[in-house]
């Protein structure tokens, strides 16, 4: 569904991606793990069109989208939930959700809104509240719900567990695995343990390159990965 080949992106003269290649097959959950500054966010932002690649290709459902405007990429059904959630703070919870459906022209938006409220109860209680005033966990739910309102074909989650309490992290990953039937997912994480539990396939990124890849279960048991990303506890 998503095919990234030899992607190079730089910030001015600083190269952040140095030839990244990976694929996300339709219906799967793929994880990308790596330490701070590995280039994970740069990768999703290049795919989303916020950054222009210097070289390489991004194909989504067979269409080349590298360097396209972000709103065009989003309207193809490739939706990113950005790092740090980025809710629109001066808008209410409900308005954030409705804006999530901005690219849609169909008549089922109110139905979907109701489904989101059923799935995320906290949001339905706070629907009229400014999203700025939500807790971190609630904002993450809102960011997820807002992305789902677009009826994404591919959902890219950039560090959904960042800065959340352990209980909330569990909840977020529960939701992610419950989304499997609905959409294809690429999840970026530093919390490799959790990410590898939900994913089918995983890539490890380091210094702007993919350094390891394999089925998630296999990477989970790999001694090198265990040591570098999972701590000794496993």
């Amino acid at each position: 569904m998503l095919l990234v080949e030899d992607l190079h992106t730089s910030y001015g003269s600083i190269a952040a991606l140095k030839g990244v290649s990976f694929r996300v097959p339709e219906g799967s959950v793929v994880a990308m793990v790596g330490a701070n500054g590995a280039g994970k966010s740069t990768t999703v932002n290049t795919i989303s069109g916020l950054l222009a690649p210097n070289k390489g290709s991004v194909r989504f459902q067979g269409v080349e989208i590298g360097g396209r405007r972000p709103d065009i990429v989003a309207s193809l059904g490739l939706i990113q939930v950005p790092e740090g959630r980025q809710v629109l703070g001066s808008l209410s919870v409900e308005e954030n959700l409705l804006l999530g459906a901005y690219t849609r022209r169909d008549s089922e938006i109110t139905q979907d809104l109701k489904k989101i409220y059923d799935r995320f109860h906290q949001l339905s209680v706070r629907r009229k509240q400014l999203s700025d005033s939500l807790s971190g966990g609630e904002q993450q739910m809102l960011a997820l719900g807002r992305a789902l309102m677009a009826r994404p074909k591919l959902l890219m989650l950039d560090e959904p567990s960042l800065g959340l309490a352990p209980l909330v992290v569990n909840e977020v990953f529960k939701i992610i695995s419950s989304l499997r039937e609905q959409t294809t997912i690429l999840v970026i994480e530093q919390n490799a343990r959790k990410a590898l539990q939900v994913a089918d396939f995983a890539y490890v990124m380091e210094g702007g390159k993919i350094v390891r890849e394999g089925p998630a279960s296999q990477l989970q048991d790999d001694p090198a990965i265990v040591e570098a990303y999972l701590g000794k506890k496993l």
Binding site: S48, G49, L50, A52, G67, R68, R69, P70, D71, I72, A74, S75, I79, Q80, P82, Q86, V87, L88, G89, S90, L91, E95, L98, L99, G100, Y102, T103, D132, R146, A150
Partner: protein, 351 residues
Amino acid sequence: MTQLPQQLINGVWQGAALALFAMGYTLVFGVLNVVNLAHGATFMWGAFIAFVCVTKLNLSLWYSIPVAMIGAGFMGVLLDRLAFKPLRSLTAGSLVMWAGFLVLLTGMLGDWSPGTRRVVILSGSVVLLAGLIQDFRSVRPLRQREVPHLAPMISSIGATFILVSLAMGEFGAQVSRFPMNLFPIKPYQLTSNAVISPIQALVLVLSLTLMIILHLLIKRTQMGRAIRGIAWSERTSRLLGINVDFVIAQTFFISGALAGAAGVLLGLAFNRLEPTMGHEVELAGLTVIIVGGMGSIGGAALAAFLVGMIRVLSVAYIDSSFRDAFVFGLLILVLLIRPSGMFGRSKVSRA
């Protein structure tokens, strides 16, 4: 003090028209974080477009007002695409637009025979339009960057000069007036000592109607949510699939149309049109949007009534030469007590 009710009424209708002007002003600020100093020139052009409709095209006032609003709205869009957007993201279309615009200017201001003039103006407009369409369709700009706030402000000052001199060239520096028979003049008696003329009542009713429409547009539609979303975070809005430059153009259209409406209405009420008529309202409008809290539409509406009232009362009871002193006194007072304005978010709106 017997005339107080009368002065209050004057304050209300003038405040309402000022609110139209200020709401468009603050709307653009909210989205771009830029003060569009050419807003006053758009206001002036709105008045003159209606003037041309009435005197040259023999349209009735009821058609002239919407035409002026649409004209001023497109002027807002052109302003964005010529003076603001090229600074944010320059496209080949921007360059073509500028070329067309320069030809158009030479056509309008140069010393030509009527035939040549028409050809030059027409070809300039065609090139301008082609550039505009290309600019709207462009997928990748030639250059994209963050601009310091000063640059767009200066380019809007430049735009003001151009728009004012175009009006000077077209209508002369003297005062133009709508024909006297355009509107009934017999005032309505509101109370024993207060009257409102039909034109003032029109200003009030139309302004309030447009304020309500704007409110609904901003609060209830996807476009309104997108406008507010961009004001919070342009980047996040892009990720939601919002074509930010297009929504900004829509914002400029609304803002320009409101300025145009205010121009026609105040032009009619005082029956005094001149190319420099935007300068004074520009100052009052700037005070209003600062007092109301930069970017706050509701705040601008309320502050406009306050400023309108202060202006009217200071002229009536003190001296007309003190009018602006009182308005600026309010400005300084608010800046001292609440620098973010009466209704401004104390938090920075950009996270």
